[in-house]
């Protein structure tokens, strides 16, 4: 399975998306998912190449309207269980 490129998006790519990136990376590692996780902000996210975008509920609609890749909504950036469930669900869709 090739490496997945995940983009964690928040308003400015500085605060919350860093947290989300860290948690996605940790969850991916723990589940042996080969993923590269980067952060982005709303403005540049849709022009950044990636396989999937992870973002918050508030930004999801904006992302879905502009993105060419699937958008996964995470309700709580610090809830590892939620991130794990949704990451594994996405991984299944591309296998």
């Amino acid at each position: 399975m090739k490496r997945i490129s995940i983009l964690a998006v928040c308003g400015f790519g500085v605060g919350s998306s860093l947290l989300l990136k860290i948690n996605i990376s940790n969850v991916a590692k723990a589940n042996k998912v080969d993923a590269e996780v980067n952060t982005g902000d709303v403005a540049t996210a849709t022009s950044t190449p990636c396989d999937v975008i992870f973002t918050s509920k508030e930004l999801a609609e904006t992302m879905k309207a502009r993105a060419k890749v699937p958008v996964v909504v995470i309700n709580s950036f610090v809830d590892k269980k939620e991130i794990e469930e949704k990451l594994l669900k996405f991984v299944k869709t591309i296998k």
Binding site: C10, F12, V14, N26
Partner: protein
């Protein structure tokens, strides 16, 4: 105990500080404030902004940008039940990397599905990933489902600092 000379690289975060020291530097008592006031979300962000300014992390313009970010994008900063991380992008109004925390016993409503907020962090970065290590530790801390409850039960700021210290060391 060197069995394989020159084959190991020992990585240190810095010469003098452990991760705990870095976190504690970021969340010092001076960078924490605790209140029991009714605040709307703008007032709450203003207070957090003032805390950043008091600690020479940013100037007032950054506070305005933090508020505008929410007006533009909605309350995406409320990243987990009870917890918000106010921030804006790097800019000339950020003097140094920093993190502050305001704890309000009373709920603050951001119109988010993760409302009400009791722990509101203020984060400023100068355009670096230096915060990454510290944020990952804070992330682990925030992953404790009961952290909001635990913080609200403490009586003093020192207790909050201790709470974070204990959780970090676990």
């Amino acid at each position: 105990m060197v069995d394989k000379p020159s084959m190991f690289v020992i990585i240190k975060i810095s010469n003098t500080e452990s991760i705990e020291d870095l976190i504690m530097e970021i969340i010092k008592a001076s960078q924490m404030r605790r209140l029991d006031e009714k605040l709307n979300w703008q007032e709450a962000i203003n207070k957090v902004g003032n805390l950043l300014v008091e600690n020479s992390i940013t100037n007032n313009k950054y506070t305005t940008r933090m508020i505008n970010a929410i007006k533009e994008f909605g309350p995406y900063i409320v990243i987990a039940p009870g917890i918000g991380i106010a921030h804006s992008s790097p800019g000339p109004d950020v003097l140094k990397d920093g993190l502050v925390l305001m704890v309000n016993q009373q709920p603050i409503f951001f119109n988010s599905h993760n409302d009400p907020v009791h722990l509101l962090f203020g984060l400023a970065a100068k355009d670096s990933n230096k915060h990454l290590e510290s944020l990952s530790k804070i992330a682990n801390l925030l992953g404790d489902e009961d952290i909001v409850k635990k913080v609200l039960k403490t009586k003093t700021i020192d207790e909050i600092v201790k709470l974070f210290k204990v959780d970090i060391n676990e």
